[in-house]
Protein backbone atom coordinates (compact mmCIF):
# COMPACT_ATOMS: atom_id res chain seq x y z
CA UNK A 1 0.00 0.00 0.00
CA UNK A 2 1.13 3.49 -0.72
CA UNK A 3 -0.74 6.72 -0.09
CA UNK A 4 -1.23 9.65 -2.42
CA UNK A 5 0.78 11.88 -0.10
CA UNK A 6 3.68 9.40 -0.25
CA UNK A 7 3.51 9.56 -4.05
CA UNK A 8 3.55 13.36 -3.82
CA UNK A 9 6.65 13.18 -1.64
CA UNK A 10 8.39 10.74 -4.03
CA UNK A 11 7.57 12.97 -6.99
CA UNK A 12 9.19 15.88 -5.17
CA UNK A 13 12.30 13.77 -4.51
CA UNK A 14 12.67 12.68 -8.16
CA UNK A 15 11.84 16.15 -9.49
CA UNK A 16 8.89 15.16 -11.66
CA UNK A 17 5.82 17.37 -11.68
CA UNK A 18 2.66 15.24 -11.43
CA UNK A 19 -0.99 16.16 -11.84
CA UNK A 20 -3.53 15.21 -9.22
CA UNK A 21 -4.85 12.50 -11.52
CA UNK A 22 -1.40 11.04 -12.07
CA UNK A 23 -0.77 10.90 -8.33
CA UNK A 24 -4.00 8.95 -7.90
CA UNK A 25 -3.11 6.48 -10.65
CA UNK A 26 0.45 5.98 -9.47
CA UNK A 27 -0.67 5.33 -5.87
CA UNK A 28 -2.95 2.59 -7.21
CA UNK A 29 -0.36 1.01 -9.57
CA UNK A 30 2.53 1.17 -7.12
CA UNK A 31 0.32 -0.23 -4.37
CA UNK A 32 -0.49 -3.27 -6.48
CA UNK A 33 3.16 -3.83 -7.38
CA UNK A 34 4.32 -3.46 -3.76
CA UNK A 35 1.68 -5.98 -2.65
CA UNK A 36 3.19 -8.47 -5.08
CA UNK A 37 6.61 -7.99 -3.44
CA UNK A 38 5.19 -9.25 -0.12
CA UNK A 39 5.92 -12.82 -1.29
CA UNK A 40 9.63 -12.18 -0.60
CA UNK A 41 8.89 -12.29 3.14
CA UNK A 42 8.51 -16.08 2.84
CA UNK A 43 12.15 -16.48 1.88
CA UNK A 44 14.62 -17.10 4.69
CA UNK A 45 17.58 -14.81 3.99
CA UNK A 46 18.97 -14.76 7.53
CA UNK A 47 22.46 -15.93 6.53
CA UNK A 48 22.50 -14.78 2.88
CA UNK A 49 24.83 -12.00 1.72
CA UNK A 50 23.39 -9.50 -0.77
CA UNK A 51 24.37 -10.01 -4.43
CA UNK A 52 24.98 -6.76 -6.27
CA UNK A 53 25.46 -8.36 -9.67
CA UNK A 54 28.20 -9.17 -12.13
CA UNK A 55 29.58 -12.44 -13.46
CA UNK A 56 33.19 -11.81 -12.45
CA UNK A 57 34.08 -11.41 -8.82
CA UNK A 58 37.39 -9.64 -9.18
CA UNK A 59 38.88 -6.20 -9.31
CA UNK A 60 39.23 -4.47 -12.66
CA UNK A 61 42.64 -2.83 -12.55
CA UNK A 62 44.44 -0.80 -15.16
CA UNK A 63 48.02 0.41 -15.44
CA UNK A 64 48.81 3.41 -13.29
CA UNK A 65 49.23 5.67 -16.29
CA UNK A 66 47.51 8.79 -17.57
CA UNK A 67 44.26 7.89 -19.31
CA UNK A 68 43.16 9.96 -22.25
CA UNK A 69 39.65 11.37 -22.31
CA UNK A 70 37.58 9.57 -24.87
CA UNK A 71 35.04 12.12 -25.94
CA UNK A 72 36.45 15.10 -27.74
CA UNK A 73 35.64 18.20 -25.77
CA UNK A 74 34.10 19.91 -28.80
CA UNK A 75 31.63 17.13 -29.43
CA UNK A 76 30.51 17.16 -25.81
CA UNK A 77 30.13 20.94 -25.81
CA UNK A 78 28.28 20.68 -29.11
CA UNK A 79 25.62 18.50 -27.47
CA UNK A 80 24.89 21.02 -24.70
CA UNK A 81 21.39 22.41 -25.11
CA UNK A 82 22.49 25.91 -24.10
CA UNK A 83 26.01 27.27 -23.83
CA UNK A 84 28.20 30.32 -23.33
CA UNK A 85 31.50 29.81 -25.11
CA UNK A 86 32.47 26.27 -24.21
CA UNK A 87 30.60 26.33 -20.92
CA UNK A 88 27.25 24.72 -20.15
CA UNK A 89 24.70 27.44 -19.47
CA UNK A 90 21.94 26.95 -16.90
CA UNK A 91 19.19 29.17 -15.52
CA UNK A 92 19.80 30.82 -12.13
CA UNK A 93 19.77 28.54 -9.10
CA UNK A 94 17.64 31.06 -7.19
CA UNK A 95 15.05 33.23 -8.82
Amino acid sequence: MISKSEVKHLAELVRIELTDDEEEHLAHDLGKILDHFAELKEVDTESVAPLTGGALVMNALRDDAEASGRVENDAAVESFPDKAGNLLKVPPVFS
Binding site: L13, A60, R70, P91
Partner: protein
Protein backbone atom coordinates in the same frame (compact mmCIF):
# COMPACT_ATOMS: atom_id res chain seq x y z
CA UNK B 1 19.07 -11.04 -54.41
CA UNK B 2 16.56 -12.74 -52.09
CA UNK B 3 16.55 -9.84 -49.66
CA UNK B 4 14.12 -11.35 -47.12
CA UNK B 5 16.21 -14.46 -46.54
CA UNK B 6 19.70 -12.95 -46.60
CA UNK B 7 21.89 -13.97 -43.69
CA UNK B 8 25.32 -12.70 -42.65
CA UNK B 9 26.68 -15.95 -44.01
CA UNK B 10 24.85 -15.92 -47.38
CA UNK B 11 25.64 -12.24 -47.84
CA UNK B 12 29.35 -12.92 -47.39
CA UNK B 13 29.11 -15.68 -50.02
CA UNK B 14 27.32 -13.30 -52.39
CA UNK B 15 29.96 -10.60 -51.95
CA UNK B 16 32.70 -13.13 -52.57
CA UNK B 17 31.04 -14.37 -55.76
CA UNK B 18 30.58 -10.70 -56.83
CA UNK B 19 26.82 -11.18 -57.13
CA UNK B 20 26.32 -7.72 -55.65
CA UNK B 21 28.27 -4.96 -53.93
CA UNK B 22 27.76 -3.68 -50.38
CA UNK B 23 26.53 -0.40 -51.83
CA UNK B 24 23.89 -2.16 -53.94
CA UNK B 25 22.75 -4.21 -50.95
CA UNK B 26 22.43 -1.08 -48.80
CA UNK B 27 20.39 0.65 -51.50
CA UNK B 28 18.07 -2.36 -51.78
CA UNK B 29 17.48 -2.36 -48.05
CA UNK B 30 16.64 1.34 -47.97
CA UNK B 31 14.13 0.76 -50.79
CA UNK B 32 12.62 -2.08 -48.81
CA UNK B 33 12.41 0.05 -45.66
CA UNK B 34 10.82 2.85 -47.64
CA UNK B 35 8.04 0.57 -48.84
CA UNK B 36 7.41 -1.68 -45.85
CA UNK B 37 8.41 0.11 -42.67
CA UNK B 38 5.33 2.35 -42.71
CA UNK B 39 3.35 -0.72 -41.78
CA UNK B 40 5.80 -2.20 -39.25
CA UNK B 41 7.36 0.88 -37.61
CA UNK B 42 10.66 -0.82 -36.81
CA UNK B 43 12.82 2.27 -37.34
CA UNK B 44 12.85 5.63 -35.58
CA UNK B 45 15.45 7.17 -37.86
CA UNK B 46 17.70 6.10 -40.74
CA UNK B 47 21.45 6.57 -40.89
CA UNK B 48 21.85 6.67 -44.67
CA UNK B 49 25.04 8.73 -44.94
CA UNK B 50 26.80 6.50 -42.45
CA UNK B 51 25.49 3.38 -44.22
CA UNK B 52 26.71 4.41 -47.67
CA UNK B 53 30.06 5.51 -46.26
CA UNK B 54 30.76 2.12 -44.65
CA UNK B 55 29.28 0.19 -47.60
CA UNK B 56 31.68 2.08 -49.88
CA UNK B 57 34.57 1.26 -47.57
CA UNK B 58 33.59 -2.43 -47.46
CA UNK B 59 33.54 -2.52 -51.27
CA UNK B 60 36.88 -0.69 -51.46
CA UNK B 61 38.57 -3.14 -49.09
CA UNK B 62 37.29 -6.03 -51.18
CA UNK B 63 38.33 -4.40 -54.46
CA UNK B 64 41.83 -3.77 -53.12
CA UNK B 65 42.12 -7.38 -51.99
CA UNK B 66 42.41 -6.44 -48.32
CA UNK B 67 41.28 -8.58 -45.41
CA UNK B 68 37.48 -8.75 -45.48
CA UNK B 69 36.00 -9.10 -41.99
CA UNK B 70 32.80 -11.14 -41.44
CA UNK B 71 30.48 -8.14 -41.07
CA UNK B 72 31.86 -6.02 -43.94
CA UNK B 73 28.89 -4.67 -45.88
CA UNK B 74 26.28 -6.36 -43.65
CA UNK B 75 23.19 -4.13 -43.13
CA UNK B 76 22.34 -3.88 -39.42
CA UNK B 77 19.54 -2.36 -37.37
CA UNK B 78 20.69 -0.66 -34.15
CA UNK B 79 18.45 -0.14 -31.13
CA UNK B 80 18.08 3.58 -30.51
CA UNK B 81 19.60 3.44 -27.02
CA UNK B 82 23.11 2.94 -28.43
CA UNK B 83 25.18 5.91 -29.53
CA UNK B 84 26.28 6.34 -33.15
CA UNK B 85 28.26 9.57 -33.36
CA UNK B 86 26.48 12.37 -35.16
CA UNK B 87 23.07 10.68 -35.15
CA UNK B 88 20.09 10.80 -32.81
CA UNK B 89 19.93 8.44 -29.83
CA UNK B 90 16.46 9.04 -28.44
CA UNK B 91 15.96 5.92 -26.30
CA UNK B 92 12.40 6.43 -27.65
CA UNK B 93 11.93 9.22 -25.13
CA UNK B 94 10.83 12.83 -25.58
CA UNK B 95 13.65 13.57 -23.13
CA UNK B 96 16.26 12.85 -25.83
CA UNK B 97 14.21 13.73 -28.90
CA UNK B 98 16.66 16.45 -29.96
CA UNK B 99 19.88 14.87 -28.69
CA UNK B 100 22.72 14.00 -31.05
CA UNK B 101 25.24 11.38 -29.95
CA UNK B 102 28.68 12.89 -29.27
CA UNK B 103 30.59 9.61 -29.58
CA UNK B 104 30.28 5.98 -30.67
CA UNK B 105 29.32 3.17 -28.30
CA UNK B 106 32.10 0.57 -28.09
CA UNK B 107 29.97 -1.99 -29.96
CA UNK B 108 29.51 0.58 -32.74
CA UNK B 109 33.26 1.30 -32.89
CA UNK B 110 33.94 -2.42 -33.19
CA UNK B 111 31.38 -2.85 -35.98
CA UNK B 112 32.69 0.20 -37.84
CA UNK B 113 36.15 -1.38 -37.88
CA UNK B 114 34.57 -4.29 -39.73
CA UNK B 115 32.73 -1.87 -42.09
CA UNK B 116 29.31 -3.09 -41.03
CA UNK B 117 26.52 -0.96 -42.51
CA UNK B 118 24.11 0.69 -40.06
CA UNK B 119 20.73 1.19 -41.72
CA UNK B 120 19.12 3.05 -38.87
CA UNK B 121 18.09 3.29 -35.25
CA UNK B 122 15.23 1.10 -34.14
CA UNK B 123 12.23 1.60 -31.89
CA UNK B 124 12.06 0.50 -28.27
CA UNK B 125 10.06 0.98 -25.13
CA UNK B 126 11.15 4.30 -23.62
CA UNK B 127 14.62 3.84 -22.04
CA UNK B 128 14.19 0.08 -22.74
CA UNK B 129 11.44 -0.22 -20.17
CA UNK B 130 8.67 -2.48 -21.36
CA UNK B 131 7.80 -5.74 -23.05
CA UNK B 132 5.86 -4.61 -26.12
CA UNK B 133 7.42 -1.42 -27.61
CA UNK B 134 4.09 0.25 -26.75
CA UNK B 135 5.93 2.52 -24.30
CA UNK B 136 7.84 4.25 -27.11
CA UNK B 137 7.19 8.00 -27.05
CA UNK B 138 6.95 7.93 -30.86
CA UNK B 139 5.02 4.92 -32.20
CA UNK B 140 4.22 1.25 -31.63
CA UNK B 141 6.25 -1.35 -33.55
CA UNK B 142 4.03 -4.04 -35.03
CA UNK B 143 4.72 -7.74 -35.28
CA UNK B 144 5.51 -8.59 -38.92
CA UNK B 145 3.68 -11.92 -38.51
CA UNK B 146 0.45 -10.18 -37.45
CA UNK B 147 0.35 -6.39 -37.42
CA UNK B 148 -2.48 -6.32 -34.86
CA UNK B 149 -0.01 -7.80 -32.37
CA UNK B 150 3.04 -6.47 -30.54
CA UNK B 151 6.60 -7.16 -31.66
CA UNK B 152 7.61 -7.61 -28.01
CA UNK B 153 10.06 -5.42 -26.21
CA UNK B 154 11.87 -3.56 -25.30
CA UNK B 155 14.02 -4.20 -28.42
CA UNK B 156 10.90 -4.67 -30.58
CA UNK B 157 12.22 -2.49 -33.41
CA UNK B 158 15.37 -4.52 -34.02
CA UNK B 159 13.45 -7.83 -33.74
CA UNK B 160 10.76 -6.70 -36.18
CA UNK B 161 13.34 -5.27 -38.61
CA UNK B 162 15.17 -8.60 -38.83
CA UNK B 163 11.93 -10.64 -38.99
CA UNK B 164 10.48 -8.44 -41.76
CA UNK B 165 13.70 -8.49 -43.81
CA UNK B 166 14.36 -4.78 -43.19
CA UNK B 167 17.85 -5.63 -41.89
CA UNK B 168 20.04 -8.71 -42.09
CA UNK B 169 20.74 -8.61 -38.36
CA UNK B 170 20.58 -6.15 -35.49
CA UNK B 171 21.60 -5.18 -32.01
CA UNK B 172 19.40 -4.95 -28.95
CA UNK B 173 19.90 -4.65 -25.22
CA UNK B 174 18.55 -7.08 -22.65
CA UNK B 175 17.94 -6.15 -19.01
CA UNK B 176 15.20 -8.65 -18.17
CA UNK B 177 14.48 -10.27 -21.53
CA UNK B 178 14.42 -7.31 -23.90
CA UNK B 179 16.29 -9.21 -26.62
CA UNK B 180 14.99 -12.76 -26.08
CA UNK B 181 11.30 -11.94 -25.64
CA UNK B 182 10.87 -9.90 -28.87
CA UNK B 183 13.05 -12.44 -30.71
CA UNK B 184 10.65 -15.21 -29.66
CA UNK B 185 7.56 -13.21 -30.57
CA UNK B 186 8.98 -12.25 -33.98
CA UNK B 187 10.47 -15.65 -34.86
CA UNK B 188 14.16 -14.69 -34.93
CA UNK B 189 17.24 -15.59 -32.89
CA UNK B 190 18.08 -13.27 -30.00
CA UNK B 191 20.91 -13.65 -27.53
CA UNK B 192 21.83 -12.09 -24.19
CA UNK B 193 25.54 -12.64 -23.48
CA UNK B 194 27.08 -13.29 -20.07
CA UNK B 195 27.21 -10.10 -18.00
CA UNK B 196 30.63 -8.64 -18.79
CA UNK B 197 31.05 -10.27 -22.21
CA UNK B 198 30.07 -7.15 -24.17
CA UNK B 199 30.87 -3.52 -23.32
CA UNK B 200 28.01 -1.29 -22.20
CA UNK B 201 29.95 1.92 -22.97
CA UNK B 202 27.70 4.13 -25.09
CA UNK B 203 24.55 2.20 -24.20
CA UNK B 204 22.08 4.52 -22.46
CA UNK B 205 22.03 2.85 -19.06
CA UNK B 206 18.84 1.37 -17.69
CA UNK B 207 19.85 -1.02 -14.89
CA UNK B 208 23.62 -1.28 -14.84
CA UNK B 209 23.94 -4.61 -13.02
CA UNK B 210 21.63 -6.31 -15.54
CA UNK B 211 22.05 -4.61 -18.96
CA UNK B 212 23.84 -6.45 -21.80
CA UNK B 213 23.97 -5.75 -25.53
CA UNK B 214 23.42 -8.71 -27.83
CA UNK B 215 22.57 -9.83 -31.38
CA UNK B 216 19.32 -10.36 -33.31
CA UNK B 217 19.80 -12.63 -36.30
CA UNK B 218 17.97 -15.06 -38.56
CA UNK B 219 20.21 -17.99 -37.63
CA UNK B 220 22.21 -19.15 -34.62
CA UNK B 221 25.26 -19.27 -36.88
CA UNK B 222 24.83 -15.54 -37.56
CA UNK B 223 24.33 -14.81 -33.85
CA UNK B 224 27.72 -16.35 -33.14
CA UNK B 225 29.36 -14.18 -35.84
CA UNK B 226 27.79 -10.95 -34.56
CA UNK B 227 28.50 -11.80 -30.92
CA UNK B 228 32.16 -12.48 -31.72
CA UNK B 229 32.40 -9.07 -33.40
CA UNK B 230 31.14 -7.09 -30.39
CA UNK B 231 32.54 -9.03 -27.40
CA UNK B 232 35.66 -8.34 -25.38
CA UNK B 233 37.32 -6.25 -22.72
CA UNK B 234 36.86 -2.51 -22.96
CA UNK B 235 38.72 0.05 -20.85
CA UNK B 236 35.52 2.10 -20.72
CA UNK B 237 33.49 -0.64 -19.02
CA UNK B 238 35.24 -2.09 -15.96
CA UNK B 239 32.90 -5.10 -15.85
CA UNK B 240 34.07 -6.44 -19.23
CA UNK B 241 36.55 -9.22 -19.82
CA UNK B 242 38.19 -11.25 -22.54
CA UNK B 243 37.56 -14.96 -22.34
CA UNK B 244 38.26 -18.09 -24.34
CA UNK B 245 35.31 -20.07 -25.64
CA UNK B 246 34.38 -23.23 -23.76
CA UNK B 247 35.61 -26.22 -25.75
CA UNK B 248 32.75 -28.55 -24.96
CA UNK B 249 31.96 -31.71 -26.87
CA UNK B 250 28.56 -30.31 -27.88
CA UNK B 251 26.83 -33.65 -28.52
CA UNK B 252 27.71 -34.81 -25.02
CA UNK B 253 26.16 -31.84 -23.22
CA UNK B 254 23.28 -32.61 -20.87
CA UNK B 255 20.24 -30.36 -21.04
CA UNK B 256 18.28 -29.61 -17.88
CA UNK B 257 14.54 -28.99 -17.76
CA UNK B 258 13.62 -26.84 -14.73
CA UNK B 259 10.27 -28.03 -13.41
CA UNK B 260 9.46 -24.53 -12.08
CA UNK B 261 9.37 -23.19 -15.66
CA UNK B 262 6.65 -25.57 -16.79
CA UNK B 263 3.77 -24.44 -14.66
CA UNK B 264 0.17 -23.40 -15.11
CA UNK B 265 -0.42 -20.30 -17.13
CA UNK B 266 1.70 -21.27 -20.10
CA UNK B 267 -0.22 -20.95 -23.35
CA UNK B 268 -0.83 -24.40 -24.95
CA UNK B 269 0.81 -23.21 -28.17
CA UNK B 270 3.99 -22.35 -26.25
CA UNK B 271 3.97 -25.67 -24.37
CA UNK B 272 3.55 -27.54 -27.66
CA UNK B 273 6.30 -25.56 -29.38
CA UNK B 274 8.80 -26.07 -26.57
CA UNK B 275 7.98 -29.78 -26.49
CA UNK B 276 8.62 -29.95 -30.23
CA UNK B 277 12.06 -28.43 -29.63
CA UNK B 278 12.80 -30.93 -26.85
CA UNK B 279 11.78 -33.88 -29.04
CA UNK B 280 13.98 -32.63 -31.87
CA UNK B 281 16.96 -32.24 -29.55
CA UNK B 282 16.37 -35.75 -28.18
CA UNK B 283 16.40 -37.04 -31.74
CA UNK B 284 19.72 -35.30 -32.21
CA UNK B 285 21.03 -37.39 -29.32
CA UNK B 286 20.99 -34.93 -26.43
CA UNK B 287 20.21 -36.33 -23.01
CA UNK B 288 17.78 -34.50 -20.76
CA UNK B 289 17.39 -34.34 -17.02
CA UNK B 290 14.75 -32.72 -14.83
CA UNK B 291 16.21 -30.14 -12.46
CA UNK B 292 14.88 -27.71 -9.88
CA UNK B 293 15.46 -23.97 -9.58
CA UNK B 294 13.45 -23.50 -6.40
CA UNK B 295 13.63 -19.70 -6.13
CA UNK B 296 12.32 -19.06 -9.66
CA UNK B 297 8.95 -17.81 -8.45
CA UNK B 298 10.61 -14.90 -6.63
CA UNK B 299 12.60 -13.68 -9.63
CA UNK B 300 9.91 -11.29 -10.82
CA UNK B 301 9.66 -9.51 -7.46
CA UNK B 302 13.43 -9.38 -7.07
CA UNK B 303 13.79 -7.92 -10.56
CA UNK B 304 11.06 -5.33 -10.12
CA UNK B 305 12.81 -4.05 -7.00
CA UNK B 306 16.45 -4.07 -8.16
CA UNK B 307 15.80 -2.82 -11.70
CA UNK B 308 13.73 0.28 -10.79
CA UNK B 309 16.23 1.11 -8.04
CA UNK B 310 19.00 1.22 -10.64
CA UNK B 311 16.72 2.99 -13.12
CA UNK B 312 15.90 5.79 -10.68
CA UNK B 313 19.62 6.34 -10.16
CA UNK B 314 20.62 6.13 -13.83
CA UNK B 315 17.83 8.39 -15.03
CA UNK B 316 18.75 11.15 -12.57
CA UNK B 317 21.18 12.40 -15.23
CA UNK B 318 18.28 13.41 -17.47
CA UNK B 319 17.66 16.69 -15.75
CA UNK B 320 17.00 19.02 -18.66
CA UNK B 321 20.47 20.51 -18.27
CA UNK B 322 22.96 18.38 -20.14
CA UNK B 323 21.39 16.51 -23.03
CA UNK B 324 18.40 18.47 -24.14
CA UNK B 325 16.10 21.16 -22.80
CA UNK B 326 12.61 21.33 -24.18
CA UNK B 327 10.79 23.50 -21.74
CA UNK B 328 11.52 27.21 -22.03
CA UNK B 329 10.49 30.14 -19.82
CA UNK B 330 11.50 28.71 -16.50
CA UNK B 331 12.41 30.89 -13.55
CA UNK B 332 15.14 28.84 -11.91
CA UNK B 333 17.13 25.61 -11.95
CA UNK B 334 14.67 23.54 -9.95
CA UNK B 335 11.92 24.41 -12.38
CA UNK B 336 14.11 23.21 -15.25
CA UNK B 337 14.35 19.81 -13.58
CA UNK B 338 10.71 19.49 -12.65
CA UNK B 339 9.26 20.69 -15.94
CA UNK B 340 11.68 18.89 -18.23
CA UNK B 341 11.35 15.58 -16.41
CA UNK B 342 7.55 15.87 -16.36
CA UNK B 343 7.53 16.68 -20.07
CA UNK B 344 10.27 14.22 -21.04
CA UNK B 345 9.36 11.01 -19.19
CA UNK B 346 6.39 8.85 -20.19
CA UNK B 347 4.08 6.98 -17.78
CA UNK B 348 6.09 3.73 -17.44
CA UNK B 349 9.35 5.63 -16.90
CA UNK B 350 7.75 7.74 -14.16
CA UNK B 351 6.31 4.64 -12.54
CA UNK B 352 9.72 2.97 -12.37
CA UNK B 353 11.61 6.07 -11.25
CA UNK B 354 9.13 6.52 -8.41
CA UNK B 355 9.13 2.83 -7.51
CA UNK B 356 12.93 2.72 -7.50
CA UNK B 357 13.17 5.78 -5.31
CA UNK B 358 10.62 4.24 -2.94
CA UNK B 359 12.47 0.91 -2.51
CA UNK B 360 15.72 2.79 -1.89
CA UNK B 361 14.27 5.26 0.59
CA UNK B 362 15.11 5.08 4.27
CA UNK B 363 12.63 2.99 6.18
CA UNK B 364 11.98 0.74 3.18
CA UNK B 365 15.53 -0.05 2.01
CA UNK B 366 15.99 -3.19 4.11
CA UNK B 367 12.52 -4.57 3.49
CA UNK B 368 12.73 -4.17 -0.27
CA UNK B 369 16.13 -3.43 -1.82
CA UNK B 370 18.41 -5.31 0.61
CA UNK B 371 15.96 -8.21 0.75
CA UNK B 372 15.83 -8.41 -3.06
CA UNK B 373 19.64 -8.49 -3.30
CA UNK B 374 19.73 -11.42 -0.90
CA UNK B 375 17.10 -13.37 -2.81
CA UNK B 376 19.03 -12.51 -5.98
CA UNK B 377 21.95 -14.48 -4.54
CA UNK B 378 19.68 -17.46 -3.86
CA UNK B 379 18.47 -17.35 -7.48
CA UNK B 380 22.06 -17.32 -8.72
CA UNK B 381 22.95 -20.20 -6.38
CA UNK B 382 20.03 -22.20 -7.81
CA UNK B 383 21.79 -21.96 -11.19
CA UNK B 384 25.20 -22.78 -9.68
CA UNK B 385 23.72 -25.95 -8.19
CA UNK B 386 21.87 -26.89 -11.38
CA UNK B 387 25.02 -26.49 -13.46
CA UNK B 388 26.70 -29.16 -11.31
CA UNK B 389 24.19 -31.63 -12.77
CA UNK B 390 23.59 -30.30 -16.29
CA UNK B 391 25.46 -28.15 -18.82
CA UNK B 392 22.62 -26.18 -20.35
CA UNK B 393 19.06 -25.37 -19.25
CA UNK B 394 16.09 -25.33 -21.63
CA UNK B 395 12.85 -23.42 -21.00
CA UNK B 396 10.14 -21.40 -22.72
CA UNK B 397 11.03 -17.76 -23.50
CA UNK B 398 7.59 -16.26 -22.93
CA UNK B 399 4.36 -17.58 -21.40
CA UNK B 400 2.34 -16.67 -24.54
CA UNK B 401 2.89 -15.94 -28.24
CA UNK B 402 2.67 -12.27 -29.37
CA UNK B 403 -0.27 -10.57 -27.66
CA UNK B 404 -2.63 -7.97 -29.13
CA UNK B 405 -1.61 -4.32 -29.15
CA UNK B 406 -3.30 -2.65 -26.16
CA UNK B 407 -4.09 -5.94 -24.42
CA UNK B 408 -1.80 -5.39 -21.43
CA UNK B 409 -1.20 -1.66 -21.30
CA UNK B 410 -3.81 -1.00 -18.59
CA UNK B 411 -2.28 -3.42 -16.07
CA UNK B 412 1.48 -2.98 -15.50
CA UNK B 413 1.75 -6.19 -13.47
CA UNK B 414 0.32 -8.38 -16.27
CA UNK B 415 2.84 -6.79 -18.65
CA UNK B 416 5.68 -7.49 -16.20
CA UNK B 417 4.67 -11.17 -16.11
CA UNK B 418 5.66 -11.59 -19.77
CA UNK B 419 9.31 -11.48 -18.63
CA UNK B 420 8.97 -14.24 -16.07
CA UNK B 421 11.16 -16.80 -17.89
CA UNK B 422 13.82 -14.38 -19.09
CA UNK B 423 14.52 -12.40 -15.91
CA UNK B 424 16.41 -15.12 -13.97
CA UNK B 425 19.30 -15.19 -16.51
CA UNK B 426 19.86 -11.44 -16.02
CA UNK B 427 19.76 -11.73 -12.24
CA UNK B 428 22.32 -14.56 -12.37
CA UNK B 429 24.41 -12.91 -15.12
CA UNK B 430 24.39 -16.04 -17.29
CA UNK B 431 24.16 -16.18 -21.11
CA UNK B 432 20.83 -17.13 -22.70
CA UNK B 433 19.56 -17.45 -26.24
CA UNK B 434 16.08 -17.50 -27.75
CA UNK B 435 15.76 -19.76 -30.79
CA UNK B 436 12.65 -20.13 -32.99
CA UNK B 437 11.17 -23.63 -32.69
CA UNK B 438 11.08 -23.75 -36.49
CA UNK B 439 11.43 -21.40 -39.43
CA UNK B 440 8.49 -18.99 -39.44
CA UNK B 441 7.66 -17.28 -42.71
CA UNK B 442 6.05 -13.84 -42.60
CA UNK B 443 2.61 -14.13 -44.19
CA UNK B 444 2.01 -17.75 -43.18
CA UNK B 445 -0.37 -16.57 -40.46
CA UNK B 446 1.39 -18.63 -37.82
CA UNK B 447 2.56 -16.91 -34.61
CA UNK B 448 6.20 -17.74 -33.80
CA UNK B 449 7.21 -19.66 -30.66
CA UNK B 450 10.75 -19.65 -29.28
CA UNK B 451 12.63 -21.77 -26.79
CA UNK B 452 15.38 -20.60 -24.49
CA UNK B 453 18.76 -22.13 -23.73
CA UNK B 454 20.66 -20.82 -20.69
CA UNK B 455 24.32 -21.64 -20.09
CA UNK B 456 27.10 -21.31 -17.57
CA UNK B 457 28.93 -17.98 -17.24
CA UNK B 458 31.04 -17.36 -20.38
CA UNK B 459 29.78 -20.58 -22.02
CA UNK B 460 28.11 -18.85 -24.97
CA UNK B 461 29.77 -21.42 -27.23
CA UNK B 462 27.64 -24.21 -25.67
CA UNK B 463 24.44 -22.37 -26.59
CA UNK B 464 25.63 -21.61 -30.13
CA UNK B 465 26.82 -25.20 -30.58
CA UNK B 466 23.48 -26.75 -29.64
CA UNK B 467 21.56 -24.08 -31.55
CA UNK B 468 23.52 -24.63 -34.74
CA UNK B 469 22.89 -28.39 -34.64
CA UNK B 470 19.21 -27.67 -34.00
CA UNK B 471 18.74 -25.31 -36.95
CA UNK B 472 20.63 -27.60 -39.36
CA UNK B 473 18.33 -30.51 -38.57
Amino acid sequence: MDIKNLTIKSLADGFKAKEFSALEVAQEFFKEIDVHDKEIGAYLSLTKDEAFLEAGRADAVRAEGGEVLPLAGVPLAIKDNMLVKGYPATAASHMLEHYTAAYDATVITKLKTEHAVFLGKTNLDEFAMGSSTENSAFHVTKNPHDTSRVAGGSSGGSAAAVAAGLAVAGLGSDTGGSIRQPAALCGVVGMKPTYGAVSRFGLIAMASSLDQIGPFTKTVEDARILFNAIRGKDVHDATTTNFNDAKSDIKKLTIGIPKEYFVEGIDPAVAKGVDEAVQKLKKLGFSFKEISLPHTKYALSVYYIIMPAEVSTNLARFDGIRYARDVKDVKNLKEVYIKNRAHGFGPETRRRVLLGTFVLSSGYYDAYYAKAQKVRRLIKEDFDNAFKEVDVILSPVTPTPAFKIGEKTADPLSMYLSDIFTIPANLAGIPAISIPVKKYTVGSGELPIGFQLMGKHFHEADLFGIGELYEKE
